[in-house]
Symmetry: D2
């Protein structure tokens, strides 16, 4: 009964089936029938013309997006707890050739326009400082909160005003959309987003994320950068097929909704006092003493401690209903 | 009836089965049960202790190996026709942070120790020139020739003498071993090789290559570099499982042998006069007039032209016997 | 009467004379008679064998030192107000190929071992995070405070314990030594420092800083990196001559002392209430209202505002005694 | 009597005088009175609006120009014997973040449009290869030949046609202009050149080259890159003053002419049979046996051997007339 990470989940049946269907000779790299359908499939989903590239990891998708938005002598504003800052071993710095991340504070790993503006105010406009080039937010955030369309749009307006590119790390974008019930468009290009790392792996995929460019001219150099980074898989059809299979019939949304509902179930059991943060996606942060944590583990539940006195529980598309019920009961019984 | 590239082939049944077997919850990244078996499995294959990392592409495997062997202010000697020079969009330069490739000539994309020594002789030992740090060969070469254990060892001796790291791009290493009938050890560490990009994708894999370090201390920084490049897939077990499945029962060798035999069949049909080079692996370069090429295509055979008057035919693990027979007959009938 | 920056000062007469004496044909780059004397001259000054390279700017000296101490996938701990973070347009990131600066707090731009240890404690030891590789302090700091030999040694001990390289940005190292009355050795290698950017330009030099490696094996790659960065001037003798001229007869110390004394004069006039920080080198931060600042400027004194209600006054080796007296009087009269 | 390199020469009196005149307090970096005059001074010289930056070395000037013209995933065509390929320790790769140099052949280190076009023809237009972005020529070349305005214009036309940026490494641009008697404009922007590394150091400067952008929009990012590379000297006025002093009264042209005439004197003495190449600037390549070379050295002449049976003699602005006469006589007497 593991609640470590949605990264650890299996791939969903639709994805496996798609891989099997793609298992025949076709053109290499991204010249195959599946890859050539991606732009259209994602353009339909977003209701606007986009360019969509398959990428094997979210780290690479994020970094390629940032490299498209920020020169080596620029900087990227992001939250202090952002994945791109803390969990990618400097991949953004590698891909951007040394751009700097400027860290912004905010509860639950969310940033407000005011906080971003304050960070911008601290930067002198001279050649001695790297100049801000992009803003990157994570939606849903690393702490399981979501930015609403309005919140994204407010940041998007700030970006336009200050000439910043706008990137969304959407490793759990599906969970955000499922929670908000909005359209993918509302949460992205209509709110001023230029590029989205659209996560599928945590949501039932096997090894494919989608990098979406709403400002399509940003994509041109990215095809070279993807190859140059060793991310142009020679049998790319297996990645494209995964994405198409999850778009088909809104598997992506159904999977995310299942994970969200499992998390909500845990949150309800935990109760407001025990919750560190509201639960808006598929991550639950609860206050537990060391004894309580040990007691849960003794009952067979695995999860990460998250600083002293806190634990992180992550649900996924395939979280076992019985295990979720059991954990909910165990938490309630603490 | 496509003879474009072994990149275009399907994944073999053992690989697909392994992916299905790996399709359950496990630890993320490379902490899972499959990934943890890699070092042992490859150490057994090579008869020495190695470190083995799964990597999604040969380009990334090559680049990570070269970054382990060459500083940014160093240079890598390779053949003028090497994949790392011509087909990776500068990935070695990206991963090494700007090292230089020094190009060496030689028939069939093979280099002799004399040719390498001559290239080294042209480099002044001062701070104004990048200093040579590594040699990279491709075995089997981009033109389907193989280096014998003795030939590799002669280059290995030169590397030791000159203080160069020694890398083998083994995108078709399996085809070389299958052809030579030698042990993998003879063609690598016993011949002085430090790092091997061991290709599986062209040989029936889906999205996993193995990067093998015979000098194990070279691996340490590579784990960081792999993550930093966005190549630490979160569900790495699916990659490890592919490699283990192909090692198991020597699927890798059987697949390569099938591809080699198909190529040999075509070579025999073509005859010595038509062959541009001896056929030692799974690539066949033949002399054809434009009319002859068109005639073959009219019969349904697809392949790349390779400069004026030449064509490249590539076979793979799953080359259809009927199609190979038909092509052989068609070539013989030209 | 300008108190903007010691960067704006003239070169001292000894430096100009040395340039004239060096103005004859000699070997190019660093093969000339002057450059070849550097190692010895600085080894004598520090009482240990060092390698010393002339570098045209402090930014380049800092960056070359950091590149010697930190891999691209590593991080450098420094103060939030460090020059390398705020005033070098990302030069450390450029030279290290994308290492990350981790920011530490502390009054007056000084860091304590506890603050550094706390920052280290926040870093997980896994491949998902860049791992700490070096500590960089500025002495005297950007706020004109000095680290004593004991304070440096405490940080040095921490570095040794944690396996960190230890760099000192000594743009105003001379001012620190002049203030402390200690030996240059006490403040560097005896306290565990590996590399020092020893500033001369702010202290009466024209275009030469010294990069000192106490761990001499760190220097080897730096000769290549200096060339590769375009910092191996072809007429390097003019840079070496500046450094030698300032070492000769302790001009460097005399100049720094003059600047310090001018600052002390201003500090005394300002009085404890007006001083933001103690004045220990050649920078004076005072509290002034907008009206007071305007009044000083109306009397012909130029300086930078330093955030709301504060001003920065910097003295230099050639601060005019009359101007200093006049400013002291004007401040006292506010 | 040294004929090693013009790099070894002294600085000319006008340059030293300018440094002394600049030796007073002024604004730091490039905000001083001298630096602010550069754009105008060079715009007058070239008869068009340019942006001009002082840079301490030709290597840095070249690299900054190339970084402005070529993305990391692009390539730069240059001659196989180009300084940027052989004598800068990979600085172009460092500054461009790993772009590739594609080498072109041609006698005397000169390239023809046909040779460049042939190199371009070998590059596939796909993401697997770095795409050509710029052409870099050296004028006068590393072998002392000059490109005429017509020859530069022919290359410029090719660049425009193929969408390539066009850079001139003008370490000895002055010698080329002096030889050709043309205007600086004819040899640059009128011939399609985008950026020029205009050398002063080999021609009597001390530590200042000029980087000239004829396409001014290329300059914007270069100010950041210069700082980021540690090349924004804090007392930049001393560099600007050198350049202004050499523009004033055409010192740059007079110096170059003196060097050229000294070389012509040696060429005449050598005679056509002994000359490896025509002498068009200030470098003389002669055929000499080992015995002849030894004989010259025995008479006190120093110079570089240049491959077997050849020697390189370089004259400079201050080549001693007596020494030149003596060497001419010694060569004639061989």
């Amino acid at each position: 009964m593991r609640f470590f990470s949605d990264n650890a989940a299996a791939a969903c049946p639709e994805v496996l089936a798609a891989i099997e269907q793609a298992n025949r000779l076709d053109t290499a790299y991204d010249g195959d029938a599946w890859s050539r359908r991606l732009d259209d499939a994602f353009s339909r989903l977003f209701g606007t013309e986009v360019e969509a590239l398959w990428i094997a990891t979210g780290t690479a998708a994020n970094s390629l997006a940032l490299a498209a938005l920020c020169p080596p002598h620029g900087s990227i504003l992001c939250h202090r707890d952002a994945h791109i800052q803390n969990d990618e071993c400097g991949a953004p710095e590698f891909y951007t050739h040394g751009a700097k991340l400027l860290l912004v504070d905010g509860a639950g790993a969310k940033m407000t326009p005011d906080a971003v503006a304050a960070a911008l105010a601290g930067i002198r406009n001279d050649v001695h400082q790297v100049q801000p080039a992009a803003l990157s937010i994570t939606n849903a955030t690393e702490y399981g909160l979501v930015y609403s369309p309005e919140e994204v749009a407010a940041l998007g307006a700030l970006c336009r005003e200050r000439g910043l590119g706008f990137h969304v790390d959407g490793a759990r974008f599906a969970n955000a959309v499922a929670r908000l019930g909005c359209s993918p468009a509302d949460l992205t290009w209509k709110a001023g987003v230029d590029a989205l790392s659209f996560g599928f792996v945590k949501n039932g995929g096997l090894c494919a994320e989608a990098l979406i460019f709403f400002r399509r001219e940003l994509a041109a150099a990215t095809y070279y950068r993807r190859k140059r980074a060793g991310h142009l898989l020679s049998k790319g059809r297996y990645l494209a097929a995964q994405l198409l299979a999850m778009l088909d019939g809104d598997v992506w949304l159904r999977n995310a909704d299942a994970a969200n509902r499992a998390a909500a179930r845990l949150a309800e059991a935990a109760g407001a006092d025990r919750l560190v943060l509201p639960v808006e996606a598929n991550e639950v942060f609860i206050r537990v003493t060391a004894e309580e944590a040990a007691a849960l583990r003794a009952q067979g539940f695995d999860f990460y401690d998250w600083g002293p006195g806190e634990a992180r529980l992550v649900t996924s598309w395939d979280s076992d209903a019985g295990a979720v019920d059991a954990l909910a009961a165990a938490i309630a019984a603490l």
